[in-house]
Amino acid sequence: MSESRRLGVRGPLPGVPQSGTASVRDAERKRAAIASLQAGFRRQNIFLVASLFLTAALAPALPFVEDWMSMQASLVIIYILAAQGVSILTGQTGLVTVGHGGFLAIGAYTSALLAKYFAVDLSLSIVAGAVMAGLIGCLLGLIFLRLAGAFMAIGTLGFAFFIGTIVNNVPIFEGRDGIQMPHSRIFGMLLGDTGFYYVALAVLALTTAFVYILLRSPVGRAFRALRDSEKAAESSGVNRLFYRTLAFTTSAALTGIAGVLNANITGYVSAETYGDIWYSVDFLVATVVGGSSALMGPFVGGAFIVMVPFYLEQLADFAFILKGVVLILVLQFAPAGVCDVIAKPFRDLRRKQLQRIQDDVEKTSPPALAALFSRGRQ
């Protein structure tokens, strides 16, 4: 590699006007105006999400909130966590997964076995579940390296069945009898329903911050690049093997955390619940309904999947049908998800604001590089 190019990495491009000229000041002014507007948008987003979490944290103190609700809310949080995992793989990296129930099971059984045999604290259990699911996710990512589209869906479905068969038949998992866990403790304290809700909420806050940072970083950008065009991504220097495996690993780890919480909410795991693929399907539906590329998508989807059967309990199987109907309607009329439909007017407004700044600067100054290009033409 030549020395000149290395130096060029830090210095300004020679074609760009040097500082001090009028055009540079205009360009800088515009860049600063746009940057401050975008920082404002970011603050609005963070404020919205933070106030959502604050409301959720204060909710148990409200007079009309009853005890059973915290249990239900914890379940919603678990689905949101799992859907966050799915959305990294399916929404961002473009790999459809119908097997994340497998990672949920890995998280759940890791926690159950650690609690039963070693009386491990919930805090450590969450870390262990994430690491275990992440490792197996990494392995699966490497195995499925060449799969895409429908083949990836079938491959991950196979993985869910594989995990189901294992928990049904390997003695340590105790099959359909299941594992009864001792009562969950975090940092030594016994957890009630409300306590558990707060733990789940804190975990969700952490993962949401993590997903937010991840999606805005060059890593998230590499994921989306691989989704939109593998060839163009590779020619831009994105290592396909590395980033695909990384997407699998982080996605599996998030769903593994959901699994740990899901085991601790009931204190009981068995092949009856973790042995079939309904969890996998539910997570995918939650991701699709909520919107897989938005940060808030998993929140809407998770709430939908848990609350629909809950409110329609008396309709029994009709709730399943309703889920299917909503899925079809969403795919037909809002393929980017419910969240996208809600966010679109705001996004358009912001885009218009940005454009207005750009047009203003345009009117007050000549195009910054006109001089440069007339030089190039000689």
């Binding site: 590699m1 030549s2 000149s4 190019r5 060029g8 990495v9 300004p12 491009l13 020679p14 074609g15 760009v16 360009a27 515009k30 860049r31 746009i34 993590f210 940072i213 991840l214 970083s217 060059p218 890593v219 950008r221 590499a222 989306r224 690049a225 939109d228 065009s229 060839k231 163009a232 991504a233 590779e234 020619s235 831009s236 220097g237 994105v238 290592n239 396909r240 590395f242 980033y243 990384l246 982080t250 885009r351 940005l354 454009q355 750009q358 047009d359 345009e362 195009p367 910054a368 590089l369 440069l372 290009f373 190039g376 033409r377």
Partner: protein
């Protein structure tokens, strides 16, 4: 100094020989053209040079080192970037995002990026400034937030050029940069290619069917036909070469 070169490149697709014993050599700081009639093997050779295609025999060299075993994503780290014949952008994403993906080589440690460590944040700001510079160079600065699929065709071509430039390459391979552009867009892109070469000192190798563009901006031209080298020389020499005229217009009886 020789930048990128290849020798004895042979590529077979089943019974079809796309390239046989092709050789070319690109010297630093010049604009090279690669031309030939349809199906001559230009794009295949391009894919070999950017490692998207393995060759059955022959080798590709960069600064004298054999790069046969490199993967496509290694190329930008060496200093070679490319564009595609049909626009190949991340079409749902904004211009800025596209350019930032192009700058991926400069993005630093992915694990630091995932957790927004302080080093990564500094690096992010550097990347963003770099992307803005490239956008301004290609006069895309007013379209940064627009999804690229909503941009006019000529702009999309420029976004692809910007993405290739964002990795700060030494050599840039352009696969038909003006295919499908109107005459005004062709003129613009000609200027941009010249600026990239003269102002940024980047070596350019381009495949193109627009003869006026090739003859006007290239310093040296390789002609291939039926997968084999036919001729090489300056534009003036190529214009007069009887073999080239025969290949393009057909032999006189």
């Amino acid at each position: 100094m020789t930048h990128i070169s290849c020798q004895g490149v042979t590529v077979k697709f089943g019974g079809i020989i796309a390239c046989s014993e092709l050789a070319l050599s690109v010297a630093e700081g010049k604009i090279y053209g690669l031309i030939g009639p349809n199906g001559a093997g230009k794009t295949t050779l391009f894919n070999v040079l950017s490692r998207f295609q393995n060759c059955d025999s022959g080798s590709v060299y960069f600064r004298g080192d054999c790069i046969d075993c490199k993967r496509p994503h290694d190329m930008v780290r060496l200093g070679i970037s490319r564009t595609f014949q049909n626009i190949n952008l991340f079409s749902a994403q904004s211009t800025l995002e596209n350019i930032l993906v192009g700058a991926h080589r400069l993005a630093g440690n992915p694990f630091a990026n995932m957790f927004a460590l302080p080093s990564a944040r500094k690096n992010q700001r550097m990347l963003l400034a770099r992307a803005h510079e490239v956008a301004e160079l290609l006069r895309l600065e007013n379209h940064l937030e627009v999804p690229v699929r909503n941009l006019p065709y000529g702009h999309q071509k420029r976004v692809e050029l910007a993405r290739a430039l964002a990795s700060e390459p030494e050599v840039i391979l352009l696969d038909e940069p003006v295919a499908g552009c109107n005459s005004q867009e062709v003129e613009e892109l000609k200027d941009f290619v010249r600026v990239i070469n003269k102002e940024l000192g980047i070596t350019v190798l381009l495949v193109e069917h627009d003869m006026s563009m090739v003859m006007e901006i290239c310093d040296y031209i390789y002609v291939i036909n039926f997968g084999a080298n036919l001729a090489e020389g300056t534009p003036a020499e190529i214009r007069k070469n009887p073999k080239v005229i025969a290949a393009y217009l057909g032999e006189e009886e």
